[in-house]
Amino acid sequence: MNSEALSSKPDLYVVARIIKALKKKNKVNKTALATCTELSYDKLVKYFDWMSKKGFVVVDDNGSVSLTEEGAEVYDELVQWILKHVGQLKFPRLRAST
């Protein structure tokens, strides 16, 4: 995924993985973040730049990354949004009979 494509439409689950890791670790450097999210460093940086522009994450003078309040809210909204849509699904009790 190149940076232009990323800026237009990021993978939601990658964003969610980064935010979830940041919620868990609080403050972490980019290399450690790439490791715990199982993303390549280059990919993480691209996503980080995009999320930083959106105001979801910030980096301090020591190079540690942390989640902003807005980032945490976006994550919760995403959970609620998915739950709203997935929660509407009604699954039939299926059992292919022979």
Binding site: P10, L12, W81, G87, F91, A96, S97
Partner: protein, 219 residues
């Protein structure tokens, strides 16, 4: 309303999709099932004709001949059993639960599974396979009808033999009874199958809508 709710709902969805894969197996192996069942019925008829043609049981009287002839019903019975076991074994080969490891990572993985699912492919096979699912029931029903015909005939003749010391006293009663049994069986089985297909169709519509929502979603 938590992340766990999303994960459990997605797990439910994935389990349903795993089950749908099994419906595709029925469609895929319908021809082989039909060949096994029809062959067993053909062998049964051939054995019966051979016995009659060569008079293999001519040394016995009418009653003995009738009861000695009865065990050939085992041929189609075994055929149906082999056919069903064959389809079941193919169903067991369907890989299920491959998503469990991924989903154990929590909400982001649930999101990943939702985004990467090939909805159309999963459901299109079912859509094209609905006729096969119903046909499977019809083939099985026809075979059961054939077996019922023998069994009901045996029971009725046994009764008339014990009561009237005659066989064949009830004419075509075994045919009518077996036909009636199959109508009842098919009515139950086909309506159950069509209800399942309708439920799958409904789920397919809902998943298409969810898929569109996910594709158009932006942060």
């Amino acid at each position: 309303m938590t992340e766990e709710n999303v994960v459990s709902k997605v797990a439910e969805l994935m389990e349903t999709l795993d089950e749908i894969k099994k419906y595709n197996v029925l469609e895929k192996y319908l021809k082989k099932f039909t060949i096994i069942v029809i062959s067993s019925i053909a062998i049964c008829i051939a054995v019966n004709l051979t016995i009659s043609f060569f008079g293999l049981l001519s040394a016995f009287n009418e009653f003995e001949r009738f009861f000695l002839n009865f065990p050939i019903v085992l041929i189609p019975s075994v055929g149906v059993l082999v056919g069903i076991l064959f389809v079941r074994s193919k169903m067991k080969e369907v890989k299920t639960g491959e998503w469990k490891k991924e989903l154990s990572k929590g909400f982001p993985s649930a999101l990943k599974l939702l985004s990467e699912l090939d909805w159309d492919n999963s459901f299109d096979v079912v859509s094209s396979g609905r006729l096969g699912y119903a046909m499977y029931s019809l083939v099985k029903g026809a075979a059961y009808g054939f077996i019922f015909f023998f069994i009901i005939g045996f029971v009725l003749n046994l009764i008339t033999y014990l009561v009237l010391h005659r066989i064949g006293a009830l004419g075509y009663a075994s045919f009518h009874f077996s036909f009636l049994s199959i109508i009842v069986y098919l009515r139950y089985d086909l309506s159950k199958r069509f209800n399942e297909i309708r439920a799958i169709d409904k789920l397919q519509c809902e998943l298409r809508r969810l898929s569109d929502e996910l594709r158009s979603a932006e942060l």
